[in-house]
Every structure is written in C-alpha cells, then in structure tokens.
C-alpha cells in the first residue's frame, strides 16, 4: 500500500469511531485517500461536520512516531501480516452502525498478526462468571494453545482473563483485542496480563493510542474477535451478556459457534444454553472438541466415546438368551436351559458348546453353570 494511502488510513483511524460502518464501507469502496479528501471537501457535510473537530486536531505522522516509540505498529489491509479472516467483514453484518473491514489495526507484540490469527479460536464469556466457568475457560485456553492454536479474547475480567491465563500457562499463543488504545490497559487491574501479552504475544486494537474504552467500542471490538478467529467458544454468558455479541458476530460471519454448558440452574449459563438451543451452537466440553470444530476436516477428529465394552455384547442374540438361562452355581442340563431360554434343544446344545469355548460357562458332568471368573 502506498505511503500516502497508509497515512490517510492512520488519519481516518484517528478521527473515526472504531468500526464505524459508514466509514469502513466508504474506505472499502474509494480508498482512504479519497475519503479523506472528501471529508476535507465536505462531500458529505454531515460526516464532515461530525468528524471536523477531530480532523483538525489529527497529527498522523506524530501519532505513528509516538506509537512506534511504544512498540505499537499500524497494520493495514494488504500488509503481509494482515489476517485474511478480517476481509470477510466486507460481506458481514452491520450491527448498530458498526461493521466492515477495519481501516487499520494498532498492533503491539513480537508476532505477526496473521501467523497467530490463521490458527485461532476465540474464547469469551461473562465478566460475572463462576469459578466453574473460569476453570473451564482456563482449561480450554490451555488445551487449545497447547495444540498451537491462538487463544483470542478480550482481556476482560472473568472468563476472558481465565482463557488467556490458561494459554499463557502452557506458553501457548494468545492475543487480546482491546477496546482502548494500546498506550493504556483496560481493565487496569489486568496490566500484568497485557504486559505479558505485549512482550510475548500480541495485543491488538482498532482504537488509536489515546482512545478510551467507551462502551460503544466493545461492540466493534467483539466483531474483530469473531472475525480474527476460526470459531468462537462462549463459556458462561447470561441472557443479555456482551459475550453473546461476539457470538452473534461469529454467527453472522458463518464461523463455528460453540458453547460450554453449565448447570441449568445457573443464570450465567442461560445465554449459552439459548445459543445451543436457538442458534445451533455446538456443545463443547473440552479442548479436543473445540479443536475438532475449528481444525481442518479430519485433523482433530475424535473417536466416538463408548461405554466400556462388555464381552457379552459380541455374542449373538440367541447366545445371550442362552447365557441368561444358565444358572450361576447349580448346574442344569441342556433340556432345562432350553426350556428357560425358550429355544430348541439342539440349538441350545450347540450354543452352550460355543459359550463353553468362549469361557462363559462351565460343563460339569454334562450339566452347565456360569463360569465364576
């Protein structure tokens, strides 16, 4: 991408609300340079009026340099590390005037964003989760990251934090998408987590440095979490939880949606249960099942779990019927066994011999009883 286009995108990133659908679609069609020129020329007087104050104050070169000093880079579509998954947003939904491919992303950390995003799973959930949900989120985070898939989440208190924590515990890849600029941490109490992510993995934001974590920015942030990843797992979310917003984006983008069930009495699992009931979210209970959903076809296929096999299960129906009729200790002759089993005598004699061979019954002087072993 040409330098002036990149700089124009920096400017638009500085002045536009993150994920503003109008702006992203304009940039998608016309390119940032022309959109910026249009703004200056008042092509859309309302938009120009809305963004006029910010535009006048924007110092893109300074901001870039300032960001670079903090180790923050600006990544735009077409860059090597631009994750292709984000391009699906062009045809994705618009929710509350948010949507579309980001104009650019602010990124901090030693990895290339596309490397991590190419094999990734979003694990999100309630800020008000339970110890159960947090334990599961950590376990899933660890399992997914151990398999080399990046755990993407929002760095929020509760489930998000637990998911990142699980991944970090196994030194596996994980990245956080923040609603605020990367010169600050939201929530502040998670500074150690974000420092660790910035030094070992990645933190990403659509909001430029200096931008505050306003509530409206969580929605557009959630769209990135969904779009960056190959599937979204929701661990605990109440009926109206923000975590469901990420799930909605994922569903809108056609990405696999997964939910971890909780007790039916738990209010913080209600949203997940609804997702499974109404949105066809896959019910997952462990990381292997998550990987099966997001991996290449057959890559993580799981064996169907069976109950322990009983050797009796291999017998024919007739043989089982005979076996049921054989007394445990007091031996009986074939005639009486045949009567109890309700089968003809020659057939029963034949089957008893088979069962004897297989070690199910013992022959004592022509009479039969079960093998105690």
């Amino acid at each position: 991408m040409a330098d002036d286009e990149r700089l124009a995108r920096v400017t638009l990133s500085l002045i536009g609300e993150p994920g503003d659908a109008k702006l992203t679609s304009l940039v998608g069609r016309l390119g940032a340079t022309r959109v910026l020129a249009g703004l200056r020329d008042q092509t859309d007087p309302e938009l120009s009026a809305d963004l006029g104050q910010r535009l006048a104050a924007a110092r893109p070169e300074d901001e870039l340099e300032h960001a670079a000093r903090r180790g923050v880079r600006f990544v735009v579509p077409g860059d090597e590390e631009w994750p292709s998954g984000l391009d699906d947003l062009a045809s994705g939904p618009t929710v509350d005037r948010r949507g579309g491919i980001p104009i650019g992303l602010w990124v901090r950390g030693p990895h290339r964003l596309n490397d991590l995003a190419n094999r990734s799973v979003a694990i999100v959930g309630s800020r008000l989760g339970t110890t159960y949900g947090e334990a599961i989120a950590s376990e899933l985070g660890a399992g997914v990251a151990q398999a080399g898939h990046c755990v993407v989440s929002g760095g929020a208190i509760g489930i998000d934090y637990a998911a990142h924590r699980g991944a970090l515990a196994v030194s596996g890849p994980t990245l956080a998408v923040l609603p605020c600029g990367l010169d600050q941490w939201y929530p502040k109490t998670h500074a150690p987590l974000f420092e660790k992510l910035a030094s070992d993995w990645l933190v990403v934001s659509e909001t430029p440095p200096g931008g505050v974590a306003y509530r409206t920015r969580f929605l557009s942030r959630n769209r990135l979490i969904a779009a960056l990843t190959h599937g979204t797992v929701v661990v605990e979310a109440a009926s109206k939880s923000g975590a469901l917003s990420t799930a909605n984006w994922a569903a809108g983008l056609g990405r696999p949606l997964m939910g971890v069930p909780g007790p039916v009495t738990s209010a913080v699992s209600e949203g997940v249960h609804e997702m499974i009931r109404f949105r066809n979210a896959a019910l997952v209970t462990r990381s292997e099942e998550v990987l099966e959903m997001v991996g290449e076809a057959g890559q993580y296929a799981l064996d169907f779990r069976r109950a322990q096999e009983d050797p009796r299960d291999r017998l024919s129906v007739d043989a089982r019927q005979v076996l049921d009729a054989v007394p445990v200790q007091r031996a009986a002759d074939a005639t009486s066994i045949a009567r109890v089993a309700g089968l003809r005598i020659p057939r029963v004699e034949e089957l008893l011999e088979e069962l004897h061979q297989a070690g199910f019954v013992v022959n004592r002087e022509g009479r039969w009883h079960l093998d105690p072993g």
């Binding site: 110890t131 159960y132 462990r286």
Partner: protein, 530 residues
C-alpha cells in the same frame, strides 16, 4: 489434734476444691480414710507413711488417724492427694505449721517413698479451680510451675520434696533435694509438628481458587467444612494448611487448650505453652476413647478436645465407625463433650472447626467426568459408601466443596502467585475482629456459634436477603436449621468483605458454599481487594 489442708479433684476439665481434714488422736492404732477416695488415694496412706518416715517426720503409728475428704459427694481420684494428706498429718501434730496459711493453699503432688514429689497430670485445671475458689497459693511439683503460673492471682511454689514444702510453710531454710522428673520428657509430637506445620503454606497450593476461598470463609466464622474429591486431588494438602490461617490463640484460649493438654498429660516438659491453634487428624481406626475421651481410671480428653480452638480433620470420613460419628454430634453442636461413667460426668471443651474429607467412592478414583474417571467400584458399593455421608455430622457441615485435581496448566500458571498463609491469616484475623466487636456483650466469639434466635433478632441480613432466605425455606429448598446455618455463613462472607451487614451477594455465596455449587468469580476476587 487436727488440721485441714486443701487440694483439688478433677472431673474432666472441671475442678473441685477438696478439704482434707486430718485428725490424730488416741485410740485404736489405725488409719481410716473417708469421703469416697479412689484406689490411688487409698494407697496414699502407704506412700505418705513411708514418705514421712523417710523425710525425718514421724508417722503417728500409735495413734488413731482419721482422714476426711470433703465435700463427701464429689468423687475423688488421683495420686496428687498425697501431698495434702502428708502435710495434713504433719500439721495435725505440729503447732508450728501455719493453719491460716494452709486454708488458703492448695497442695498438689504425688509422693515417692523417700518423700520426693512426682508430677501429676492436670495441674493447670486444678490451679484454675483453686484460684476460682479463693485459694491464694499453690504448691506443685517443680517442673509444673510454668503450667500453674498461667493462672492469674496465684502464688505458685515449685517444690521437689515434702521437706521443702514444710520448710517453706514454716519460713525455714529450704533443704536441697534432687530435681523432679517432668511428666513427659519428650515434647508432644504435634508441637514438634508445629514447626513442620509452619513449613506448609498456602503459597504452595496452585489453583483451587474455589476451595481456598471456601476455607477462608470457614476459618472466619469457625464453620465446619466438607471436602470431597478423588484421591490425590489435594484434600489433605488443603486441610493441613487450615490451622495456619487461624489467628494466634489469646491468653484465655491458651489457658483452655493448655488445661486440656495438662489433663491429657501431654504438655511438653519444657513448660512451653501452645500459642497456635491445634491441628489434629485422628485416623479412622482410632478407638472411640482416643477420639472422644474417656479411658479406665482417670478420664482423659480425646482428640476432639485436643483439637479445641483449632482444626479437627477427619480424613476418609465414611470409614469412621457409625457410633463414633453419632457421638461427635454433641461436641459439634455444643462445643463440649461430656463423658459419663458411673456416677461421674467428665466435661471437656471441644470446640473446633471440623474438616471432613471424603472420596467419591471406596477406591477414590471416581470422577463425574467420563474422561477422568478411573473408578472400578460397582454402583451399589459407591452408593453405600456415599450413604454414610448423611447423618448428624454432615447435617452440621455448612460448607461443602468438590476438590478437583489440579490440572497441569494450573501448575505452570504465570499470571498469579498463590497467596501465602500469612496473607490469608491477616484477613481472617480482621474478619474475626469484626465478630469480636459485634459479639462483645455475648458468650460466643464466632459466627458459627451464634444461636439462631439471636441471629434473626439482632443481626439480620439486608431485608431483601432475609426475604430471599425465607423463600428458600418456604419452598423447602432449605430446612429451618439449614436457613440459620446459611445465615451464619452469610455473616462470615460479609465479615470477609468488611460489610456492615450481609447483602444479597453474601446470601447467594453462602447458599452456593452450602450446596457445593460454583461461586461467582467476582466474589472470590472481591476479598482480595478488600
């Protein structure tokens, strides 16, 4: 000629001051002992005679000696009557002995044939009883001075021999005597263990946020706790760290606990007094007597009393015999255990935090999740095993936790450092100070011990929480008693948060703790900030 001396007889931890009246008069030469003495006291006659003879005093062989122990209705036992009887005989024949001083002095000690003293168990509760009944000074075997000195307002004389006692009473020069051998020369195992118990710390326990929080709440209010989970999931690891987060014992508590050890004869010889809450973990094969107290002859306190003010850990709880479990009901509810035997009722304090641990099945490998389940028990066996978990003890357990085995990723966590015992203890201390302040005009110290009616009247939760709790009871989700217990735990949750009154969150948390349901993550984290 006659004289009166005083000593103390014990019934459990309760002491009675006994007057020993000795009359020496002419008549048929014999020694009569009246007032319900036990065998040990009857034998005192022989020991005293020899001790007097060998100490240079004369036993009045030609006289009629009557020894009366009163009050007559109190059964009297123990060899420590020796000293009071011997001094009584001496005083009856010697006008130089100060009668008035004798009336304010308790004499404790067993005599050897050569007139030296021997240590006896129970000196501390004897001294406590003596002080309460107006005794001003007490003579005890020298190694037991530290024990008796714990009681305020008593002048304690540590003595080695009969001669020394007489010399002190008469104000004469004190003759030398070989030192008295302490009761137990080796320090008590659990107190040696105190050092090693300081080595175990919550800082070494990774993960288990849920269980750690539950333990903290239990420690705050003195609630009984049930930990269940597969073998090796860390139940014992958690349990043996609980005593560590309880605050140091205060002066009164130290006295109570020392009195119990004094009775058990398990005070260390070096005169050290326990300052930390005890941790006792009796095995399920322990005898009923070892666990609850009793024994032939002298009634000794059991493990439930030795755990007084500390933690009583019952591992593999379903394997304890049913009658023992039944008998635990009383101490769990009332904080006392009464051992009835013949005409004698011995009462010992037994107010501990009971921690019950159980496996989910006899083999201990059962896990509700199929992938982790390695259990090979039959369903019926598992069911029978679990049925033992019902009954009087579990009904009185306020907090139930399922302990999950620690997962690999929890061991390698890089974000959070587990809080050490010292930090937990500090929080528990603060929460207990709030209780002490709240209950300062009452007989109880901890939330778990507040009677139900008082709780409802004086310390309700916020109105919404109270009505929510009532609804639970009305709907039959909780029994009336269960409701009270939840209310108590809600207070402990509130004390841990530093709240004025338990709110809705506290109630929800208390209910979850009782039912073994997951806790809100925010609640578990909230206490950290406070």
């Amino acid at each position: 000629m006659w004289a009166t001396t005083r000593t103390v007889s014990l019934q459990g931890a309760v002491g009675h001051v006994i007057d020993v009246q000795v009359d020496v008069s002419t008549g048929q030469a014999q020694t009569a002992m009246v007032g319900r003495p036990d065998t040990a006291i009857t034998e005192a006659r022989e020991r005293c005679r020899a001790a007097l003879d060998n100490s240079g005093f004369d036993w009045p062989v030609t006289k009629r000696i009557t020894i009366l122990l009163s009050p007559a209705d109190v059964p009297k036992r123990g060899p420590h009557f020796d000293l009071s009887i011997a001094i009584g005989v001496i005083a009856a024949m010697d006008d130089q002995m100060p009668r008035a001083a004798l009336a304010e002095t308790a004499l404790i000690g067993e005599l050897t044939l050569d007139g030296r003293l021997r240590c006896v168990p129970g000196v501390l509760p004897m001294a406590m009883a003596a002080a309460r009944h107006g005794v001003r000074s007490i003579f005890v075997p020298e190694p037991q001075v530290a024990e008796a000195s714990l009681v305020k307002g008593l002048t304690v004389y540590g003595v080695r021999s009969l001669q020394q006692v007489v010399a002190i009473m008469k104000g004469e020069a004190i003759p030398d005597a070989p030192p008295v051998i302490p009761l137990t020369s080796a320090p008590l195992l659990s107190w040696v263990g105190e050092a090693s118990r300081d080595q175990v710390d919550f800082a070494d326990v990774m993960g288990m946020a849920d269980a750690r929080y539950s333990i903290e709440v239990a420690a705050v209010g003195g609630h009984h706790l049930h930990l269940t989970g597969p073998r090796g999931s860390g139940k014992t690891t958690l349990a043996e760290r609980i005593a560590g987060i309880l605050p140091d014992l205060d002066a009164d508590e130290r006295l109570e606990l020392t009195a119990i050890h004094s009775l058990a004869g398990s005070l260390p010889g070096d005169g050290q007094i326990p300052s930390r809450p005890p941790f006792r973990a009796p095995h399920h094969s322990s005898s009923r007597t070892a666990l609850l107290g009793g024994g032939s002859g002298r009634v000794r306190p059991g493990e439930v009393s030795k755990a007084h003010l500390g933690v009583l850990f019952l591992d593999e709880f379903p394997l304890f015999p049913r009658d023992v479990i039944e008998a635990l009901r009383e101490p769990l509810e009332g904080g006392l255990i009464v051992i009835s035997r013949g005409e004698e009722d011995a009462t010992f304090p037994a107010r501990s935090m009971v921690v019950v641990a159980s496996n989910p099945c006899p083999c201990g490998e059962f896990h509700p999740n199929l992938r982790d389940n390695k259990c090979r028990c039959q369903d019926v066996v598992r069911r029978n095993y679990r049925s033992k978990l019902s009954g009087p003890i579990i009904d009185r357990v306020d907090i139930t936790r399922y302990v999950e085995p620690v997962r690999q990723h929890e061991l390698t966590d890089v974000l959070e450092v587990p809080e050490p015992t010292a930090v937990l203890r500090e929080r528990v201390l603060l929460a207990r100070e709030r209780q002490a302040e709240r209950y300062r005009d009452h007989d109880w110290r901890l939330n778990a011990h507040v009677p139900g009616p008082a709780l409802r009247e004086l310390w309700p939760m916020v109105p919404e929480a109270m009505s929510a709790l009532r609804t639970h009871v009305l709907k039959g989700r909780l029994t009336q008693r269960g409701g009270v217990r939840v209310h108590r735990v809600a207070w402990s949750v509130a004390d841990l948060f530093g709240l004025e009154r338990p709110d809705q969150d506290c109630l929800i948390t208390a209910l979850a703790l009782r039912e073994g349901a997951p806790l809100a993550g925010a609640v578990v984290r909230r206490r950290k900030a406070s």
